[in-house]
């Protein structure tokens, strides 16, 4: 049984919105990082669904690149968060007020 492509688009839209709202309202920087990952994964759902629907493999190729980039981004992001934690012993973004936000 085939699932229509619109279902996937709606699913990715929901996941993307959860990530978007998460970045905007959560205060813990790790949760923010996870929300960004949700946004990127919503993108991957889209690419794979469209790729299969259109019979065009380039979407799946894009997913490989997007995954790699996301991994690199997380590696750098976690390193920055550790450096940040060493300075202020906190990962709550409300505590970082040296620079006017």
């Amino acid at each position: 049984m085939d699932v229509p492509v619109s279902y996937y688009v709606v699913l990715s839209g929901i996941v993307f919105s959860i990530g978007l709202v998460g970045v905007l309202i959560r205060r813990n920087i790790i949760i923010i990082l996870l929300s960004v990952e949700l946004m990127l994964n919503a993108t991957n759902i889209n690419f794979v669904a469209f790729s299969s629907y259109l019979g065009n493999l380039s979407g799946q190729v894009f997913v490989f690149f997007a995954l790699t980039v996301a991994a690199a981004e997380v590696a750098v992001g976690l390193a920055i968060i550790i450096a940040l934690y060493r300075h202020s012993a906190s990962i709550n973004i409300d505590d970082f007020r040296l620079l006017k936000w």
Binding site: I29, A42, N44, S58, V69, A72, V76, L98, W101
Partner: protein, 493 residues
């Protein structure tokens, strides 16, 4: 499967730069501390070689990797600008890093890697390559912003840049994925064919276009996506700030314009009003908020936001409907000219901030410039030149850049936009000239006089000389650069 040699030859500059960046990383631990400068000179050397290679690309269009990469005059123009800016950044950093005690050679590798990302951006003909270029540039810049990792401000800047940068990349990527769904391709030329035909006014396409504009808006620091800029520019090491303010903005504008014109050039009515609105609020807010700043780096950050707004005038003209092709291409070439000129004056201004020291720290408050003209006539005069150029007062290059942009706007029938820009340029003179006033007309307190000094080194002198030569010469003889920009524009449909 193997990659054809012809394709590899097309991206020779990128390969060279990545190769030397890796070599710097490998050589770093085995180079004695006293000889670390050698790695910086090696990085400068590869930039010179790449400039010679790229010089050959003017006037030809080569498509490689089955349409993923295109090397044309447009890409060559931006690459030359990026080499120059990266070279000046490396020169500026050599003594600055020592002064700040963050003298690590991997810094030069990061400059080269970020440069490689920007080069991929400006010659990307597919949203995949453009996205990869953006990410290579951004991830490297997140690290560079936090390079003073023992200083809380620098790390905080890095974290803020990372969160908002990753957020904006997510938005951009989501837009790309929707666009892929609508058009079945990520190639700019194929997108253009579908967008201009079957998918015209498809709501999903419009949503994708909006998300892509938002994503690029973050990268070029246009209002309302600018909130990261002042914090990151203030917290990052000054040499990195100069690099971000100039190179990353130029590369982002180059990719932004290519995407808008090559993929969405057939549906200009769908985006030109949005860009016009962003342009207006960017010019207004950037200039108005800069007035109240007391930190020079923060002030220059708002000034760079305002300059992004002026550059957007070029995008608006290029995207305006109902004008002749000649006028649209004037929009593109004036934007290229403006960003080239902006690079010289901004690098110069940031270099002055980087060499002004207060005790062991950077002198980055406006107060620290008090009475500089008494002790350092030359330094104060250079700052004066950069400030009047940023304000757009003749006979400096800043005036020429604004003149060509506003002329393009008038030719496109947007005279009111030119007047709007001129009014805000006049307002901007207020905060630029305040620094000049502080330098020339205020008496420093004796204690203050003891603590602040200019740290000049031969390399920094070269940077300042290049910057001031660019600002003055392009102000008096803009002809050659104008004709190069005219020859390097994108083919406009």
């Amino acid at each position: 499967m193997s990659i054809p040699f012809v394709d590899l030859a097309t991206i020779l500059p990128e390969l060279l730069i990545v190769g030397i960046a890796c070599l710097v990383l490998v050589l770093d631990p085995i180079t004695p501390t006293a000889k670390k400068d050698f790695l910086a000179w090696m990085s400068l050397g590869v930039l010179a070689v790449c400039a010679l290679v790229t010089m050959e690309d003017f006037g030809e269009t080569t498509v490689a990797f089955s349409g993923l990469v295109v090397v044309d005059s447009y890409a060559a123009f931006w690459k030359m600008l990026l080499y120059l800016v990266s070279g000046l950044t490396i020169l500026l950093s050599m003594s600055y890093l020592k002064e700040e005690k963050i003298d690590l050679a991997e810094y030069y590798a990061f400059v080269l890697l970020a440069l490689a990302g920007m080069m991929v951006m400006v010659s990307g003909a597919d949203l995949l390559t453009i996205y990869l270029g953006i990410e290579l540039m951004s991830i490297t810049l997140y690290i560079m912003a936090g390079f003073k990792r023992f200083e809380a401000r620098s790390i905080e800047a890095s974290a803020k840049y990372f969160v908002l940068g990753a957020f904006s990349s997510g938005i951009l990527l989501y837009g790309i994925s929707l666009l892929f769904g609508v058009t079945g391709s990520t190639r700019l030329s194929e997108i253009a064919a579908v967008v201009n035909g079957p998918a015209l006014n498809d709501p999903l396409m419009l949503l994708a276009l909006m998300l892509i504009i938002v994503g690029f808006g973050f990268k070029v620091a246009a209002v309302p996506f600018h909130m990261w800029t002042p914090d990151v520019y203030e917290g990052a090491p000054t040499s990195v700030t100069a690099f971000m303010a100039v190179a990353s903005k130029a590369a982002s504008f180059a990719a932004f314009l290519r995407v808008l014109l090559e993929a969405f050039g057939g549906v200009k009515p769908n985006w030109n009003m949005l860009i016009l609105a962003v342009c207006l609020i960017t010019v207004a807010l950037g200039n108005l908020v800069a007035i109240v700043q007391t930190n020079v780096k923060r002030m220059l950050a708002y000034s760079s936001i305002a300059h992004a707004g002026y550059a957007l005038v070029g995008v608006v003209v290029a995207g305006w409907v109902g004008v002749e092709t000649g006028v649209s291409s004037r929009g593109v070439s004036s934007l290229m000219l403006y960003l080239a000129i902006y690079s010289f004056m901004t690098i110069g201004a940031f270099a002055m901030v980087a060499i002004l020291r207060k005790g062991g720290l950077e002198g980055e408050d406006i107060e620290d410039f008090t009475g500089l003209a008494k002790r350092h006539k030359g330094g104060a005069f250079l700052m004066l030149v950069f400030m009047i150029s940023l304000a757009g007062i003749p006979p400096t290059a800043g005036f020429i850049g604004k003149f060509y942009l506003f002329m393009a706007a008038v030719n496109a029938g947007l005279a009111w936009l030119a007047i709007f820009g001129l009014i805000f340029a006049a307002i901007s003179a207020f905060y630029y000239l305040r620094i000049v006033m502080v330098m020339y007309m205020r008496e420093p307190s004796p204690e203050h006089e003891q603590h602040t000094r200019l740290v000049l080194s031969p390399q920094v002198s070269v940077v300042l000389a290049c910057a001031v030569a660019g600002v003055v010469l392009l102000g008096i003889f803009p002809g050659p650069l104008v004709s190069i920009a005219d020859l390097s524009i994108l083919p406009i449909k």
